[in-house]
Amino acid sequence: MDMLTFNADNGYLEAVVRGLKASLLRRNDYTNLAQCENLEDVRTILNSTDYAPWLQNEPAPLQTQALFDCLTERLVHDYRSVRSQAYAPLSTFLDYITYPYMIDNLVLLLMGVLRNRDLGEVLDKCHPLGLFEGMATLAVVTSPEELYREILVDTPLAPYFAECVSVHDLTEMNVEIIRNLLYKAYLADFYHLCVKRIGGTTGAVMASLISFEADRRVINITLNSLDTALRKDERVALFPRLPGGLDDEVVYRLGRADDLQAVALAMDLSGTYRALFQQAAEREDHSLEDQFLEHEMKLLREAFDVQFHYGVFYAYFRMREQEIRNLTWIGECITQKQYAHASRVVPIL
């Protein structure tokens, strides 16, 4: 069915996104970038890419922050131009892509409030795709219940907050919990949207991408909660579980794991992740996070091999996001004169 009707509403945008994907930096670009000695050199190299118009009006000594802002501005521009031309259900799908940014912004703001930071400063750090109304008034809330009732109720995050209301007060630990609960609910909802409501090729492609995301969260939650005050049943409650994700057995073991050893043992049961774990252990300059990212990029690239589905939109924006992380990393390395580390990026294409 997708083949027959997809292009009527989405053909143009799919073509646009595939074209945009072609402008992602390639390995040899990263090789060139890693040889730069200052950020002006980075600018010179980026000037020969699609980024030229975005960087051209930055004053001369380029700063990492300015670089990051320009790159993000481009991502946002891409997103907005695609979003403004999208028909339902693609528009809904695209909206869902911004929810993680909203969750991150929310958590960032809550942390800022808890640490008594200047709210304006924190707001500047928020991702522009995750802006929601009333963000700036977050300082008035004192409890999750108030947070929900006064601010989130108007945002798309409201339905995800249901579980969080039971959290009693706002501490840093609880904010982390809120983040994970929100993500859990979000992933389940997104999965439902893709697989049940949109279905078809989109469902098939997105199912694997979302369940990978869920699995990564499960593993990361486990790793991060080792040696913390988080109880094991609380930990399990945070795990996003989706069909097609990790085996029940693996999840059960992860839920009971006490140390890294136990996690690694649990991972042995799952083919994909065991390989990632082993590689992370073998390669010195690669953390597990890098391994996950590389694997994710591989999955995203594969999404482009299939046609007539929305996964390419998700994949493109994730790839662009990774590219921004890469470039920012390179920028940081260069400003801190750690030239050797500048080549340690996750290649996208």
């Binding site: 010179t44 190299i45 051209q56 001369a60 963000m135 008034t137 006064e150």
Partner: protein, 857 residues
């Protein structure tokens, strides 16, 4: 003109110090195209990366400055100085000459100068923004006081009502409130429903002013955020608050974004200190600005007059600031264009210099460039001047080099021929020394157009329009034209020729806005006695309807216009005419392919491509053309001439039943024999085209290979004979010599495609020329319809108003539909006939070339 100019590859050695000046001089003359000798180097690794970066940086500053100029100066200067000065600022002047005249010092100086300006301007802007912000704040404050008082008094009015009724719940008070609301101003009260318990909370409304226990916030919030703001207030206070707002009569400037935003004044009443903190945060969150709002009227009036006072002072300050700023910006505006041209030029020079190779040991730059042979002396002179200008110790050296590579193609065009060259190159750039179709199309293009657009009146209009553009050429050249106008300007000479040719074909068709011109007196007349018209000088017996003895001297007789069989006649004529031009133009194309092959000494292509093609084509379609003229030259009215044969049937019969020729299809003696001969030629030529070329090339390749081996085995020095042999191999086979069997298959398939395309194309392309007839017909019919149905109908009413309306409508349709749309469609069809039917016979058959793009500063 017919073939590319001779191009030579020059190698130039520059002194390091002289390189810049030399390249600049070369660029000024625009005679050479530099080749990139550092293809592999990334932008960073090139010699002049830092200079280019500096250029980029200067350009960024210039963009900032001209942006500032544009944003502020147009408004400011029209306000402060009046329009006279603005014209002076914008006075264009050719910037290139001014750049050359004014020596602006080094790029670094320019950069420093611009940096100073940028800093100054940024500071000024900050200052200006601060002033503006203050002004906006004062304005908003005034509004708050003014409009807030209204809200406030309303609230007090409610108060008094409430006090009259004692403990009237605000639920009803709300109704009273809503009653006073004027419909234009969207007042709203969200919270009345939940007010009662607030009242019961013990605010004694009857005797104290409304604000005795209530806190009051007054301020402005943008209408965009208003509803969310109100909702948030309601939610946070759980309804224990009272918010009213009035939108401002005019949008207010938002200094940060520079845009006007519509805002609303709000007044918020609420109890308690706890909410005070929360609300002030909410106000911050929604970018709502709070302003002082005293309770008593007297206080408010005092504050208001104070504000007015401050606003006056501020406005005075702003005026002086603005004047200063305008001075600075005017200064910049005068120079920005020169600077821009200067930097773009420097950037181009450095970009070119980056293409040079730097020889470290010799400390010289080595550049390679293509140059037309005729311009070599010019280039030498340029380098000489460059050397003198830069005081180089050793002169730069220029030498010609021999190369195997295909040079870029360069046709010298003037402003007349360049249109046709552009049209041809839109299809593909000619290979070096390949036959250029542009000169041919100078005549054929407007002519084919005119066949479709034949009308004296329309042709005249078009000629006049083109002449007007040509007349204003100089003025338009400097103006920035819109896309459409630019296209007209670029094609002005083409349009002129199209117009002139249309007048000619219009005279042939004898149509002027659809009306036939009786220039020489019609030779037909219609009498009551004749069933059909008869010739003026041959009408002794009207019943006989004899044709005139003296024919109309030029074009169609005007009588055809009113003849009943005019369409039949015109169709037959135009159809055969189309075939005629089809055969002639395509034959020209095939002949040009011969000249191409001859020029490149591709003997295979002459004997096994051109010869069978021309035989095949002329054998079938040339014969058809012959038949057409033969048939035209026979007087079928003469006694005993019989009935004219159907030419279509003749041609089809020639293929379908070659054995017999029915007498009804017979035109001349020996027609049958000729037809059989032609048919057998056609049958022979197809396999000839198909097989000969690839097999001959393969044979040559094998022989070549064998010789190469034997030579190697013998170890002999290369015999001169073998050398001659290998040069004998034509260029085409040379490109194939490195191949093997697979490339033979490729060659064969290619040749097969070409053959099939030619054979099938011969038929379909000829048919394609029938569009000449179809479009010509459509044009004539449309003209006729507009004339008959609109203009004549209107004239018949003899009502002045109707005539005026009818004429206007007819004129509009003539210009809009016929002159613009029809001409465009005829243009496109002419374009297609040239690109596809004509050029595919000879042009770009072996891939296209590269256009010579000289460095031009």
């Amino acid at each position: 003109m017919f073939r590319s100019e001779d191009m030579v590859l020059l190698r130039i050695y520059f002194q390091r110090t002289a390189a810049h000046a030399c390249v600049e001089e070369l660029g000024r003359r625009g005679v050479v195209e530099f080749r990139d000798l550092n293809v592999k180097a990334s932008a960073l690794q090139r010699t002049f990366a830092s200079e280019l970066k500096l250029c980029d940086e200067i350009q960024r500053k210039l963009r900032f400055l001209s942006d500032q100029v544009q944003r502020n100066l147009t408004v400011a200067s029209s306000r402060l100085e009046g329009p006279g000065q603005r014209n002076e600022i914008k006075a264009p002047g050719t910037s290139r000459e001014r750049v050359d005249a004014a020596d602006l010092g080094s790029l670094e100086d320019l950069d420093a100068q611009l940096r100073r300006l940028e800093v100054d301007l940024t500071e000024m802007n900050l200052h200006w923004d601060a002033l503006q912000r203050e002004l906006v704040a004062i304005l908003e404050h005034e509004y708050v006081l003014e409009l807030g008082t209204g809200i406030f008094s309303e609230a007090t009015a409610v108060q008094s009502t409430v006090s009259q009724y004692g403990t009237l719940p605000l639920l009803e008070a709300k109704d009273i409130l809503t009653e006073d609301i004027t419909p234009e101003e969207p007042h709203e009260s969200l919270d009345a429903r939940s007010m009662p318990h607030n009242l019961e909370g013990g605010i004694d409304l009857s005797c104290t002013p409304v604000n005795a226990l209530l806190n009051v916030f007054a301020g402005t919030v943008s209408t965009k955020h208003l509803s969310a703001f109100a909702r948030m207030i309601f939610r946070v206070s759980r309804g224990n608050s009272f918010l009213r707002w009035v939108s401002l009569p005019e949008p207010v400037l938002d200094v940060d974004s520079g845009e006007s935003v519509s805002k609303a004044v709000f007044v918020l009443f609420f109890p308690g200190q706890h909410l005070r903190l929360k609300f002030s945060r909410i106000c911050e969150g929604f970018y709502a600005t709070r302003y002082a709002f005293p309770d008593s009227n007297i206080e408010r009036n005092r504050l208001q007059s104070e504000l007015v006072q401050r606003r006056r002072e501020l406005e005075a300050v702003m005026e002086t600031t603005q004047r200063q700023r305008t001075d600075v910006l005017t200064d910049i505006a005068m120079n920005v264009e020169i600077w821009n041209a200067r930097v773009s030029k420097e950037k181009a020079i450095y970009y070119t210099l980056d293409k040079l190779n730097y020889d470290v040991s010799e400390r010289v730059f080595v550049g390679e460039c293509w140059c037309p042979r005729l311009e070599v002396e010019e280039a030498r002179a340029a380098i000489h001047i460059g050397d003198i200008r830069s005081n180089a110790q050793a002169p730069s050296v220029l030498e010609e080099r021999y190369t195997e590579e295909q040079p870029p193609t360069y046709f010298r065009c003037n402003r007349f021929t360049s249109v046709w060259q552009d049209i041809v190159e839109a299809y593909g750039v000619a290979g070096y020394k390949e036959m250029n179709p542009a000169p041919w199309s100078i005549a054929t293009f407007p002519f084919l157009f005119a066949i479709m657009f034949g009308d004296v009146g329309h042709g005249l209009l078009m000629t006049v329009a083109a002449l007007y553009v040509i007349f204003r050429e100089r003025q338009w050249k400097q103006r920035k034209l819109g896309d459409l106008l630019q296209a007209v300007y670029d094609g002005r000479y083409l349009i002129l020729l199209m117009g002139v040719f249309s007048i000619f074909t219009g005279l042939i068709y004898n149509e002027c806005f659809g009306i036939p011109l009786n220039l020489f007196g019609s030779t037909w007349k219609w009498t009551r006695g004749s069933a059909i018209a008869c010739g003026v000088d041959n009408c002794r017996n009207p019943g006989m309807s004899m044709p005139p003895k003296r024919t109309y001297p030029f074009g169609f007789d005007p009588a055809w216009k009113i003849a009943g069989n005019s369409l039949t006649m015109l169709n037959s004529f135009k159809m055969k005419l189309s075939i005629g031009f089809a055969v002639s133009q395509m034959t020209l194309g095939i002949i040009l392919s011969y000249y191409n092959a001859k020029f490149f000494t591709q003997t295979v292509d002459i004997w096994h491509v051109f010869v069978p093609q021309i035989f095949f084509f002329l054998g079938i379609f040339g014969y058809l053309l012959l038949l057409i003229f033969w048939k035209w030259s026979i007087n079928w009215n003469a006694p005993g001439a019989g009935s004219p044969p159907d030419l279509k049937a003749v041609l089809i019969g020639m293929f379908m039943s070659p054995a017999s020729l029915p007498p009804g299809l017979r035109l001349f003696q020996g027609q049958h024999i000729l037809q059989i001969a032609l048919l057998s030629i056609a049958v022979v030529t197809v396999p000839w085209m198909l097989f000969a070329k690839p097999f001959i090339l393969r044979h040559r390749f094998k022989r070549h290979q064998r010789e190469a081996y034997t030579r190697l085995h013998n170890g002999d020095p290369i015999s001169s004979g073998a050398e001659v042999e290998s040069t004998d191999l034509d260029q085409h086979s040379k490109s194939e010599t490195h191949g093997n069997e697979t490339s033979f298959a490729e060659l064969f398939v290619n040749n097969m495609i070409h053959t099939i395309e030619f054979v099938l194309g011969a038929i379909s392309n000829t048919a394609s020329y029938l569009r000449l007839w179809a479009l010509s017909l459509a044009h004539a019919e449309l003209t006729d319809v507009f004339l008959q149905k609109i203009l004549y109908t209107a004239l018949k009413t003899t009502n002045i108003l109707a005539v005026m309306v009818g004429f206007t409508l007819w004129l509009g349709l003539t210009i809009g539909v016929l002159m613009l749309m029809e001409s465009l469609s005829a243009f496109l069809h002419a374009l297609r006939l040239h690109w596809v039917e004509f050029q595919n016979k000879f042009y770009n058959l072996h891939g296209s070339g590269a256009k010579f793009t000289p460095l031009r500063l």
